[in-house]
Symmetry: C2
Subunit: 200 residues, 2 copies
Amino acid sequence: MSKGFLLIVSGPSGCGKGTVCQELFKKNEELLFSVSATTRKPREGEIDGVNYFFVDEEKFTNMVNDNEFLEYAKVHYNYYGTPKKFVLEKIEKGEVVVLEIDVQGALQVKEAYPEAVSIFLVPPSMNELKNRIIKRGTETEKDINIRLENAFWELKFIDKYDYIVMNDEVIKAVEKIESIITAEKLKVKRHKNIMEKIIS
Amino acid sequence: MSKGFLLIVSGPSGCGKGTVCQELFKKNEELLFSVSATTRKPREGEIDGVNYFFVDEEKFTNMVNDNEFLEYAKVHYNYYGTPKKFVLEKIEKGEVVVLEIDVQGALQVKEAYPEAVSIFLVPPSMNELKNRIIKRGTETEKDINIRLENAFWELKFIDKYDYIVMNDEVIKAVEKIESIITAEKLKVKRHKNIMEKIIS
């Protein structure tokens, strides 16, 4: 049996990583979603245990102290973290675990777990990025500006990633990610005992 | 513009790399075929300049002396070599150049040009491999045995390759190679000046 891997789908706010991951999971039911813990309030339609584990700051702090996170960070006044145990157990069983995460978190995961496969999802242009952030309609003007500045800054870390996917069309971006998953599964390093299988 | 790459499709005799590459090119006309030079006699249907450059030993020796090969080797009484200039020029222009080659040649190319992306094509089993070599019908019994022994030996080098593709069905093997090509094109390292494009 071959080993699975952790697939990081990341990119600046407004790059569309949420929509892309939703579509990716709709088409590929065998993929596992790494559910993050967060202290931020649920947005409309978000379900606890599905989109996030919504926890309060006390609980989050305990998890940090118990070293239960692959990464954690404070982003825009809220804490986010990726529970470690879930991810590593599934990978060992051959599963592909997808982690949708902001750039800071992705860099931390890559540092703590370099075997992770990372995709940087980019918007077609900075104008498009601004439009998307504004359209979301959940942010104040100040928040929009913070997000745009962050996005500019985060683009500088693209070289730390393995793959780049332009999100000009969701369907095409998803197809590209599917190809990356297929290719990564075929990496020789994930197939131990392959010789034995062929010879027997 | 992003840089292209050299894709090595390799594997032991009888793994079906010829058939797989034929199908790959039929479906993906934008791919370039690295045409090898060889001193072996053309098989039925093979065309000079398309399947191989068929040259005599004197010409081949001159090319070796002029350092015109990315790799060359003697295999089963004949010489094979990959002309260097063609490959490197095309890659610089962003093209994907596919090199169908035996295991010894692939290892030499990887040594001389580590950026090459390499695929090891394996037959589903050693029995199947034997059947395929016999079916080809162009070999004597002695040749078949030499090829089988070589195949066993060559399987040991699988760890030197990037990807492994099982050739149980040609169509499926081709689809896997297509995914590898798509994914490799998306590697961050092939996209320079990507920041500038997004910001502008």
